[in-house]
Symmetry: D4
Subunit: 144 residues, 8 copies
């Protein structure tokens, strides 16, 4: 049995593809908050407007880190997807966090990022291009 944390980009529904395909297998999936607006605004909504962009982001990011870091600690395997858009530094941060805790890392990224992601790929147990490859790996790992 494995606990798998699905880190990385939250602008597409790539997690559903993996979770649905593995729904009959003995895998527990953990994820960050999916709802981008809720994730960005939790600080302002609950702690209050900090009247400063840096601190509004800071309060939200600290609250969301409770979920992200706790779930990485609970996981055996961390899957990180790097998509085509955005800086995605949080995805790289989560990959580093997972590596230092000795979690097994699976990285999904398009071929064009080979050079830019070489340090993260070097820490991974598998580097693939698609969600379906992650599903195949998880099904392989769970075989009796």
């Amino acid at each position: 049995m494995y606990t798998v944390y699905l880190a990385g980009e939250i602008h597409s529904n790539w997690r559903e593809e993996i979770i649905t395909a593995c729904k009959d297998y003995d895998v527990i999936f953990l994820t960050p908050e999916y709802d981008h607006t809720s994730s960005d605004d939790i600080g302002k909504n609950v702690v209050g407007d900090q009247e400063n962009d840096f601190y509004n982001d800071h309060v939200s990011a600290k609250i969301n880190s409770i979920r992200n870091h706790t779930y990485i600690k609970q996981a055996d395997i961390v899957v990180v997807k790097f998509g085509e858009k955005y800086k995605q530094w949080n995805a790289a941060f989560d990959a580093g966090y997972a590596t230092a805790l000795n979690k097994k890392l699976i990285v999904i990224h398009p071929g064009e990022f080979i050079h830019a992601l070489k340090e993260i790929d070097a820490a991974a147990s598998a580097v693939v291009k698609s969600q379906s490859q992650v599903v195949d790996i998880l099904k392989h790992l769970i075989r009796k």
Copy 2:
């Protein structure tokens, strides 16, 4: 006494500015390899050409990780600089690695990256814009 690892971009000489300014203080500085070409080509040069871009990068990145991960483990404080250019996913990865090992993190980045770096800033003990601010913090920390 502190051991400080200077992670992040290797396209400018920002590290020298900090090291020189602190040269009379009780601080040991550790750095990744500065020489970009040497860093990229170590795999091909020593292990041999893998005849494949992914694996040429992979072999080099794995060898360089010996230095990066060992030095982060030896450090008390990790300073990570995000510059204006490139993906810099390795900088974010090092920040995550350091955080999970409970190292104290200082992040340098221009104001425009506030939103993109919010998860990393949330893990930092200080977020600044310039090397001279890092120098001021280190001098403060080392005061008798």
Copy 3:
């Protein structure tokens, strides 16, 4: 799923407010002993009167530490409330204990303690003024 330890003052029923509001959510709450008299007298009652104020307190505090430290270790998140009265050094001690174990810390305190609690707030993932804000944060963290 999270395990949450509710540390700090035991002179009001603030814990009930959080536990009741989250009763339909996937959160396990752990608490110190609520009954102040039982907590203070466990040493005298079970081990016997030590005929010395320091040792009567000492024996009780050591027995209660079995619960407090064990539950902090079992927790993912530690919520610490600083109320208006008393020294509350045990609350600050628990916050430090939780921080060193890499637990995520949420601190509740009135605005007047901003300066006195700055070191503890600096270690927290969220600083709020009320129990209902903790409830909102926990509900945010548990969202699918």
Copy 4:
């Protein structure tokens, strides 16, 4: 040989008494920043005025935590003094932090705090009233 961190109140020169008395012994002393103003203002001075009391304190406290937490990690023994004045929650926090890391704790406090400090005394290897008692203990520990 021991490394000893002297935590707690910074409003009197109690640390000097211990350091001077042990100057011929094989003990390394580490301390927080002594200069109260420098400690409080480092954030404003280096990172800049946050235009908000909470965040001015926050930035300073986070920078100072680099020193405090790093030095507790480097120490074998942590001495914490609770004086007559102020909340001193940071002293209690440091005691908890040190305890969770399995550091040996020596607590100094006047007799009137027996009940309020019982949880911290319960975690200590020695509870004394004066600096000279700490000196006697350190000299005992270092005997050949």
Copy 5:
């Protein structure tokens, strides 16, 4: 909820007294092998006669250590009883093993052993004379 390992002497049925009294409480009890002959002879019976007293004991003790050390690691609390007879060095060894792993220690021993057991009592969260006192402590710890 607590997991409690009952270490120490196996020549009386003191464990039953605690387990029976707590049978309606949320406590999991773990114990070493009760059957003294089985415990002593497991090596000879399964691995074979080593034709040497030292090695016959050695093989049995190593096999039994699988149970003892694994269960101490699984426990939150370790109760160690020192009875009137025998060397009981294994009980003291288990107490040291548990202490180094930061387990909470409760020691049962008659008053006459105060001086001989002072180092172990110094590491304990409670020192008592009888099983019924352990039961009272466990019931106190499990109170809602």
Copy 6:
């Protein structure tokens, strides 16, 4: 209750003998992938042909390490069998990995390997010749 990982050779069905004999006992068994072809070809099948023997093996071995290392971490006891054939370096590697993580090690090997396996036997809690001896040890360890 114990979790037992059955490491080592995958060319015979020795694991079934242990699992079947213990099926009524409170033991959870974890194993590597049994299917040799699937294990060797997972890289080629899912990540794609690397057009290079070293990298085809490398990709498969890294994916399989997700299972092996995760399960060793989840185990209390690791049983390693060295059979008559093949290099079996992975079995020795798993034994070292388990030892460094403080797992209890049981080694099965024929008498002829006494000298070649002396370093691994030295780290073991039991060294036996057959699966039925492992079954006897597990049944002994699980006795009430």
Copy 7:
């Protein structure tokens, strides 16, 4: 290079024999307090008479534990001697403490204690009868 802690009985000068014989080798020796009276009375002398045998012993034992536990943590190898006299439960406690921290253990004891010390011998890397055997082992370990 090794750091070696010499634990156990303090009623004979067995430590000197080892330290003197290894004085030209690259070994650092750490020891508990040799002076039995000083060791027993440190609590009464420094903290004050507790007017109670248990607490007088308790205060001394806690202070001495600062030395013993700190030095075991600093050591690579722990040598424990069991002599002919006294309970020596502290020696067994130190052996357990060292084992749980993964220190290498060497045990010295006369042949008559084979059965009583079997659990401790089972955790040892060497079991010998004399100090000169320990010297021979250390000299072997330090060979270039």
Copy 8:
């Protein structure tokens, strides 16, 4: 600065080649005992003849493990060489031990062992064929 442990076969002088080539660099080398006879016979010579092949090997292997395991723990990098001859299970065991402790692993082996060593190569930061390649890697890692 790095500490490097040179594990693996002791039948050739491969270690000298690396140590000599790096003698002007800031690298500390640690090694197992080179003298094969001394290594095999230390048990018999110091502890005494166990009158049994298994136990004579066992006593020697346990004493030698003091050196091997202590030095791996002290190392940042572990280099393991697999030569053409012998089982070399101890080399594979050391590689597993180092990997679980998060040490960086460099493996030297001839091309013919690619398949048999795939699990160990998968854990390595570099896989090479010769000592001179290890020297090149170390010189690269130590560059200013």
